[in-house]
């Protein structure tokens, strides 16, 4: 996988927030990730070891993966609304225990910005990049709406006319296997005009927040 991802992050230079575009090199990130391998894998359907499987971590709520023994600190952070994005992961990787006091992760951190961006690019894989600033557009309650899975299944029949249920992404991206948060964000972004696509803009225009939550809940179940 040769993938270079442009990861714009907000850095604070001389007190003023400055948009800083930093390129992450996924291949270099894969090598750096070996330091994490004793506790984490990052593979589709991979197991969680001491720490969670990090495949698709971008867009995931902190402490939310099933079957992982998280520290109470991480769980609480998640319940408080922490979602892993380029920016939050960057902060965490720089200084894990400073970022989340009480985290069990015994890793000193990656002081070098380029190293962090490379690891994040590796973890992002082919998934859409998720930024805090984007999540911030939506109020946190949006992510807590309980979806009606059966309704979501019915609504999803509109999606699968174009998005392959079998996972071929020729011409049209695969939407199964996205983290619910990333899924919800994407649909809101189309609906609210932060992302442009003629079909998606039209299809999402009539979706309510509850319907988006129902779709996300259905697609999330489909994966399990």
């Amino acid at each position: 996988m040769v993938r270079r991802v442009l990861l714009p992050i907000l850095a604070t230079l001389a007190g003023a927030p400055v948009a800083l575009a930093q390129e992450g090199d996924a291949e270099r990130g894969a090598v750096l990730f070996r330091q994490c391998n004793s506790c984490h894998v990052a593979e589709p359907d991979g197991p969680s070891r001491t720490g969670p499987n990090l495949y698709g971590v971008l867009g995931r709520t902190a402490g939310a993966l099933e079957g992982v023994r998280y520290s109470p600190a991480i769980r609480e952070a998640g319940e408080g609304g922490l979602i892993w994005t380029v920016e939050t992961l960057d902060g965490f990787l720089q200084d894990p225990r400073g970022y989340i006091p009480g985290s069990r992760m015994s890793f000193r951190g990656l002081p070098d910005l380029q190293d962090r961006m490379d690891v994040i690019a590796y973890l992002t894989g082919d998934a859409p990049v998720v930024h805090s600033s984007e999540l911030g557009r939506l109020s946190p309650e949006i992510f807590t709406i309980e979806g009606d899975v059966e309704y979501g299944e019915y609504l999803s029949s509109e999606c699968v006319a174009c998005h392959s249920a079998s996972g071929s992404d020729e011409g049209i991206p695969v939407i199964t296997g996205l983290e619910p948060e990333a899924f919800i964000l994407a649909l809101h972004d189309y609906r609210d005009g932060h992302r442009e696509h003629q079909v998606m803009t039209t299809v999402t225009a009539r979706l309510t927040d509850e319907e988006i939550a129902s779709l996300a809940a259905y697609f999330a179940e489909l994966e399990e």
Binding site: Y154, S157, E158, V160, S164, A165, S168, E170, V203, E221
Partner: protein, 419 residues
């Protein structure tokens, strides 16, 4: 959550057992589907899959291989093989437990609730779904009848007709004329004739560049007209001429024996003539008195016939309101009907009807355009909610992306139909 694969395996096994008459509980309600195309195959698959084996599903379809009309123009243009358009019913039978009957339905007894088969016998139903596509109106184009379809193919039902038209195109003399008699509204696939012209022009510009294309059109205007005409001017300058109704495009007679067309009294010799006559609902619906002036009117929330609440009509044959007659639309309507049938037969939940449609067309290599909309059930017809269409002057990258999307759509919709 139930894993789909495992679940489907169970259904198939279950259906296998139940097929033995001794075990067959009469209690299982029966849904019968006539026509295994975009509407019918989708409806059968959704009912079978979502009813967890509670509904007995029979699909009646005469052909063993369904050739999609969608992308058949791309075959004419050399972008697809004919094989890539063919789909079989094996998965619907094996993995979904659908009883696939390869036969023609010859009649519907609405009182007895049975469907008669050409091969003899009849199939009883509790709910019937009819999605037979279109039939041509005999006499719509003077001089043409289905008896003349080898001399002047319609290629508007895909398969051997499409192959015939392609062969005629390949054998056309150098500098010859390819004529198309375009249909009046309403007809299946509004952009279809014009995508076909684009694909024929693509083929000719590479293989027979001095040939010309003549469109005889009874309509004032047509779908995505500005986009097509812009594309033709850019890619095939001088090759395509369209004669609209003002200049006699609506007053056309054809002479298949002498390969001539008569436009407003003027006789012209042509080399290939693609006649796409006016259309009407599939004859099975006409015969069962489910149509009024050519089409079968349906209720928008469930796609039930206004004449018979036990019968749902889908796709091209239905008069439903604002949706075009497209494969995408038939597939979308099928999901609403499947939900309504399950609700009627097993009391599953009923959700508000939602429909959508996108029609992609290819003008030349990597120059794709699209038009689409979302729809909802209005009082007595389906209404558009939001619409979109490709723009003039889009970048090459956007057009190539639009074409790639259509490839993804083709794969997805055909697996949505046939599993």
């Amino acid at each position: 959550m139930i894993n789909r694969r495992t679940f489907l395996g169970t259904t198939a096994a279950l259906a296998g057992t139940l097929a033995a008459p001794a075990v067959l509980g009469q209690a299982r309600p029966r849904a019968v589907v006539i026509g295994g195309g975009a509407g019918g195959a989708t409806a059968a698959r959704y009912i079978a899959n979502d009813s967890d084996g509670m509904i007995d599903v029979t699909l009646i379809e005469p052909t063993r291989h369904y050739y999609t009309c969608f992308f058949s123009n791309l075959y004419l243009g050399g972008f697809r093989t004919i094989e890539s358009l063919g789909h079989s019913y094996g998965t619907l039978a094996a993995d979904y437990g659908i009883n696939v009957v390869h036969d023609w339905a010859t009649g519907i007894d609405r009182d007895a609730r049975t469907v008669a088969l050409a091969g003899g016998g009849s199939v009883p139903y509790d709910r019937l779904i009819v999605s037979p596509g279109i039939d041509f109106k005999e006499g719509a184009v003077p001089g043409w009848s289905t008896a003349a379809q080898n001399a002047m193919p319609h290629a508007y039902k895909a398969g051997s007709q499409t192959e015939l038209l392609r062969a005629q195109l390949e054998n056309m003399r150098e500098g010859g004329t390819f004529a198309m008699v375009a249909p009046p509204n309403p007809y299946r696939c509004p952009p279809g004739p014009y995508e076909r012209v684009s694909m024929v022009a693509h083929y000719l510009s590479q293989n027979n560049p001095t040939a010309r294309i003549l469109i005889l059109d009874p309509k004032e205007s047509f779908s995505k007209q500005a986009l097509f005409e812009d594309g033709w001017a850019r890619h095939y300058p001088g090759m395509i001429e369209r004669i609209g109704p003002d200049f006699g495009g609506g007053n056309v007679e054809v002479r298949p024996e002498s390969m001539e067309v008569v436009v407003d009294g003027q006789v012209e010799a042509v080399d290939v003539c693609n006649v796409i006559p006016a259309m009407q609902a599939g004859s099975i619906l006409q015969d069962a008195a489910l149509t009024e002036s050519d089409w079968a009117t349906v209720m928008p929330a469930t796609m039930q016939s206004v004449m018979d609440e036990n019968i749902h009509v889908l796709g091209d044959s239905a008069r439903q309101g604002a949706m075009p007659k497209s494969g995408f639309a038939a597939n979308s309507q099928a999901k609403v009907a499947a939900m309504a049938v399950r609700h009627a037969l097993t009391d599953s939940r009923l959700f508000p009807a939602r429909f959508s449609n996108t029609c992609w067309s290819l003008i030349t290599t990597d120059d794709g355009i699209k038009v689409g909309a979302t729809y909802q059930a209005g009082e007595d017809r389906i209404e558009a909610v939001d619409t979109f269409v490709s723009q003039l002057g889009e970048s090459d990258e956007v057009r190539a992306e639009t074409y790639r999307e259509s490839l993804g759509w083709y794969d997805s919709i055909t697996s949505d139909m046939f599993g």
